[in-house]
Amino acid sequence: MKIQVEITRRPGLRDPEGATAARALRDLGFTSVSDVHFGRSIVVEVDGDDRDQALTDVEDMCRKLLANPVLEDFTVEVLD
């Protein structure tokens, strides 16, 4: 089973890559860009077919390693 993890910078914390990309996009003429947020996408492959268990496990992985709770939020979903 493949679990998709999306990790994003928590709102209110600086995102220098996002701010720089937003500035560059506006410089290119995309003047409607108000902000850009960078994140990280991870796919975790796990054995077994218990979806709830897999999601619970991957959430635990996010809390312990894949995301930094000081900086980041995360969402998990099963990829079909």
Partner: protein, 228 residues
Amino acid sequence: MRTAVVVFPGTNCERDVVYALGVLGARADLVWHRETDLSSFAGVILPGGFAHGDYLRTGAIARFSPVMDSVKAMADAGQPVLGICNGFQVLCEAGLLPGALVANRDLSFICRPVHLRVESTDSILTRSATVGDVLEIPLNSYEGNFVVPEADREALHTVLRYSDAQGGVDDDANPNGSFHNIAGVANRRGNVAGVMPHPERAVEDLLGSTDGRILLESYLASLAPIHV
């Protein structure tokens, strides 16, 4: 009283730290990150570099290296634990210090001397200094931009801030966008500290500055005899 200088795969400032402590007359030994027993050491320094390649996030993998249980035990016991640059990032990831370090504001790697103003002397990094002292020490990092969630800001124990040569702290003196110009923090107890610039690179006139000495001397003055 020996200091353990931890070497993770990718650490690259460990010998500078051992050398600098030697200049100050102290002994330090390199300790591989798989070591689990630090009981013969009075203090520990996590040096700069790119532990575990900085994969995932700076410090994210290093935090789980076997040596870290002993580092945490020393922190809990009140022994001096100092993180320099990448070591600071590791201590934040490990939850031993608040906040985190992200990419510099201008997305540039910064490698130049910066000025730091001493904000608190209640830490192993600054106890021998005086509040208001201005130190010139090299900064050498891409992810040196200190961020801290609002909830943790009140309890923050700031020990060093980026300043100008006169000690003025403003945005012009902030090289990397760090919150409140913060260059170094400590825990409440003061025995765990992290600093982004490199004091070990400023211990001899030949290096351009000896201002790192007072910080390393503070660390050394914090070592208490231990019974092995």
